[in-house]
């Protein structure tokens, strides 16, 4: 029989501390043998919430979209007795399958799944380029951009797989990427349209992005600065 010195309430035998003020109650007259059973079970029920079977959902979506693609292919064939415009739909469906493949099949490494997605995008755009006689813009404009984007996506996958993530570093690298991407887009557009390189608008944006990227990378490399910022921006909610 113990009383909380702070609240004055008597504590049930199951209570090791006062549940009202958290004061630990030590009764020298009580031995461990006097302890009664707990008032509540020790079993803790994990509440999973409402779970959705994602695999099943993806299968249903694929089936519905698949039926749609089948119908449009049939329409195309019945109208022109060949498969022409329906190839866009078939290609898009194949691309969708590649995107949701990790849900249906378990990959050992996320790099493989990412590689499949990037290759699938490149192939789908290639198909469109071939069908529209646009191989030149594909090789001269899209492919370099896609390769650069793929490198960035791979960097992000590596970052997300890290246990200790430095978001400032990721932000800095992302801004650097956007900076180079802008320059590359203008560079490739100039070559493709005019034939000569006149960098104007990308150079207006690049210094600003570069400055922010450097700032973020400096913060990322300096833990003391990060801690100081955390203290200054602390919000008591």
């Amino acid at each position: 029989m113990s009383y909380c010195v702070n609240c004055g309430v008597k504590l049930a035998a199951s209570e090791e501390k006062c549940p009202l003020c958290n004061t630990v109650v030590i009764n020298p007259n009580e031995t461990g043998e006097d302890k009664k059973e707990a008032a509540y079970s020790h079993r803790f029920e994990e509440y999973p919430g409402r779970t959705i079977n994602v695999k099943y959902l993806v299968q249903i979506i694929l089936a519905i979209v698949g039926i749609g693609v089948l119908v449009q292919t049939l329409c195309d064939f019945l109208i022109s007795f060949s498969i022409s415009w329906s190839l866009y739909g078939i290609g898009a469906f194949a691309l969708l399958v590649c995107f949701v493949l990790p849900v249906l099949v378990k990959f050992k490494s996320p790099y493989i799944a990412t590689m499949i997605d990037l290759v699938a995008i490149a192939l789908y755009i290639f198909m469109i380029a071939v069908m529209t006689d646009g191989e030149i813009w594909y090789y001269e404009f899209f492919l370099p951009l896609h390769i650069l984007s793929s490198i960035y996506v791979w960097c992000m996958v590596i970052f997300l797989r890290k246990k200790r993530r430095n978001y400032f570093r990721a932000g800095g690298i992302s801004l650097l990427f956007v900076c180079f991407l802008l320059i590359l887009i203008e560079f490739l557009l100039d070559i493709y349209i005019v034939g000569k390189v006149y960098l104007i608008w990308s150079l207006c944006c690049a210094p600003l992005l570069l400055a922010i990227a450097i700032l973020l990378l400096v913060i990322a490399a300096n833990p003391k600065l990060r801690e100081e910022m955390g203290r200054r921006l602390y919000m008591n909610y």
Binding site: L20, R43, E46
Partner: protein
């Protein structure tokens, strides 16, 4: 499995409270309350399971499961059998009924304790306690050969269910009348959010005689006295608030009133109305004696047949608009949730539900050691309070979804200061 008297229970239009409870239920929130009975000996789960099947045939309104219609939800009689399960440290956390074979209640056991967790759409505290005590009586009959005696809280499991036990009592008694529900926003305590899936439960046990004596001293009922103590605790917390606007917000305690007192209904489903008793804090600090006077007269003014009938009429009328009836459920549900929050939750500070005195037949009371009632999570308010008395002990339980226990600490400390000894127990040890 079910008797012929349950034929029209095959599917059922929910009563007013059930309709409301099912509509405001979300992934994170459902109105659930819990009743526990502590026996003198360890619980035998096999016997408990067998007793549950018998009692469910007697009170089939608990065998209903929730179905979702296009415009309204409805209840359907479940064909399979519920199972009893081991109790947990974080009761009332699971809002999904899927693991219960879609039954809207759970029977749990731990040590010497049987607990019943009920979705409010099925029954109110009185209905839940009737189911619980009938279950305990049947358990004792199967375990110890106890001969069941019918009483206010116990139905005879050998009898057939009666239609009046699961009638929609609200629509039977409500009269058509005008109603006005305008009330100001009430003060609500704040705190650090407790982890998802966990509710802090603190039970204080005190001698009924000591409470009664103190209530008599202030010339009020036990419920009025406890409500006054709770208001006083909230007043102390409110006075520490920094902003004057918040310090002057009214403290409003929501008191559910059992309507069986006014109308002779035998329903074990819902039949209660919520009365709000307020303290106008803009007028300044109140002494405890002044609070008791406010509560006492507030209750006397509001707990009358005319007032409660007006409340029921208002609740029913809000579902009667023709346009509202034909709007699909998925469209009106968010508006009902918002309406409940704006029109109900923010207009009261806390709930103080007193189930009253549970009197059992003398022979049965030798097996039953204690009774406990626990209110469930609220949508907006951080804490709720539920009390019940049995034999010579009154237990008042606080349920809270924040980490700080300041409200109940002040509540129990005030009782101790008045000379009422309090023993506390929690699910945190």
């Amino acid at each position: 499995m079910h008797s012929k008297n349950t034929k029209h229970l095959e599917w059922l239009k929910p009563d007013n409270t059930a309709n409301f409870c099912t509509m405001v239920t979300t992934k994170k929130f459902a109105h659930i309350f819990r009743l526990s009975v502590e026996l003198e000996e360890e619980i035998d789960p096999v016997v408990l399971d067998s007793a549950l099947q018998v009692v469910l045939k007697r009170i089939p309104s608990f065998a209903l499961k929730l179905r979702y219609g296009l415009f309204w939800n409805y209840m359907e009689l479940a064909k399979d059998k519920p199972v009893v399960e081991e109790d947990v440290r974080n009761p009332m956390a699971r809002r999904s009924w899927k693991l219960n074979k879609h039954f809207l209640f759970r029977v749990r056991y731990f040590g010497k304790r049987i607990s019943l967790e009920v979705f409010h759409a099925l029954a109110d505290g009185t209905g839940g306690m009737t189911f619980m005590m009938t279950l305990v009586a049947e358990y004792l009959r199967q375990k110890y050969g106890y001969e069941i005696e019918e009483s206010r809280w116990i139905l005879n499991p050998d009898e057939e269910p009666k239609p009046e036990e699961y009638e929609d009592a609200y629509s039977k008694v409500a009269r058509r009348q005008k109603f006005n529900r305008k009330s100001p926003k009430a003060y609500q305590a704040k705190g650090s959010k407790e982890n998802e899936g966990y509710l802090n439960i603190v039970t204080g046990r005190m001698p009924v005689e000591a409470i009664k004596a103190k209530a008599k001293e202030y010339d009020c009922t036990v419920t009025a006295f406890l409500t006054a103590v709770l208001m006083d605790a909230f007043q102390d917390i409110q006075e520490k608030e920094k902003r004057r606007k918040i310090r002057q917000m009214p403290i409003v305690i929501n008191i559910p009133v059992d309507l069986r007192k006014f109308y002779s209904s035998k329903t074990v489903s819902n039949f209660f109305a919520n009365i709000n008793i307020g303290l106008d804090r803009a007028l300044g600090h109140y002494s405890f004696a002044e609070i008791v006077e406010q509560v006492k007269h507030g209750m006397a003014l509001n707990i009358t047949e005319k007032r409660v009938n007006n409340l029921i009429a208002g609740n029913i009328a809000s579902y009667q608009y023709k346009v509202y009836k034909v709007i699909p459920m998925f469209i009106k549900k968010p508006f009902v949730i918002l309406g409940n929050y704006m029109g109900g939750e923010i207009k009261s500070t806390c709930t103080m539900s007193n189930l009253g005195n549970v009197v059992l037949p003398p022979k049965m009371s030798t097996y039953v050691k204690g009774v406990q009632a626990v209110a469930g999570r609220n949508f907006g308010r951080v804490t709720s309070c539920m009390g019940v008395s049995y034999a010579d002990i009154m237990s008042v339980t606080f349920t809270r979804k924040i980490k700080e226990a300041e409200i109940e600490r002040l509540f129990y400390t005030k009782l101790v200061e008045m000379g009422i000894p309090v023993e506390v127990e929690s699910n945190q040890s």
